[in-house]
Symmetry: C2
Subunit: 117 residues, 2 copies
DNA sequence: TCGTGTGTAAAGTGAGACCTAAACAGATGA
DNA sequence: TCATCTGTTTAGGTCTCACTTTACACACGA
């Protein structure tokens, strides 16, 4: 995992406690055992599967894409998009890589314009 | 796998044979056993790991991104880019999704302009 | 002190990914 | 006919991922 980035487990524990949700309660909502969630929250186990990460995101009210990134996963719908247009999307992503958040937003707007109209 | 798409194994077998490369020879270059490659080429085994797919791409002279897509994988450098800017890149990819190849190319050019210069 | 709540430790499981060695079968050419 | 190519079959191996079960230890209130 990258340095400087908060770990997945530590993050969700903090957010869970901030919302005063019990570990067992959360585990039940996600559909895993409390033991497992405990280990995950202390980063002793790797983050769970995409669907579980998504339901955690919903519970702690954070962006699913962001949480998936923390979990080291690429959202499966994005993976599908890349697989459908590998050459174009790879090129787009690699050139977009250098840009900052603002420039990226502008680029996304242009994409929307090209599509929507 | 998607309908209409040629399977990974069938594709690399065709390309290998077109270049008159023996199975054992190719297996050796990639660094796997002939047995394994045989199974992969007949789609009895799932495609190999990213590094092996990349060396196959080099041998049969095709675009690595495209071959990785056939293998059902997202190139790891793209995965990293998404992980570094999950929100922006997710938005960009999802809006870019509707566009055709030409519009995508134009978008990539704009990205390049925003960056380069 | 009983029960009920919290989180945790230790060990194990099932499935799938990724791969191998050994043996074999058919064509080709000497 | 014998060696030597070609790819294939059989029969596994080993690893990692994504979890579970069972049992435990502590704290709180009644």
């Amino acid at each position: 995992m990258k340095a400087g980035t908060e770990k997945f487990g530590a993050f969700i524990r903090r957010e869970r406690e901030a919302r005063e949700i019990g570990l067992r309660e959360m585990a039940k909502k996600i559909g895993v055992s409390p033991t497992y969630l405990s280990k995950v929250e202390r980063d002793e186990f790797t983050p769970p599967t995409e669907d579980k990460v998504r339901s955690i995101a919903q519970i702690i009210e954070c962006d699913p894409d962001e949480l998936l990134a923390m979990a080291g996963r690429v959202p499966s719908d994005l993976a599908d998009i890349i697989k459908r247009h590998p050459v174009e999307m790879s090129a787009l992503l690699r050139t977009a890589n250098g840009l900052d958040a603002e420039e990226l937003a502008r680029l996304a707007r242009q994409a929307r314009k090209a599509k929507g109209e």
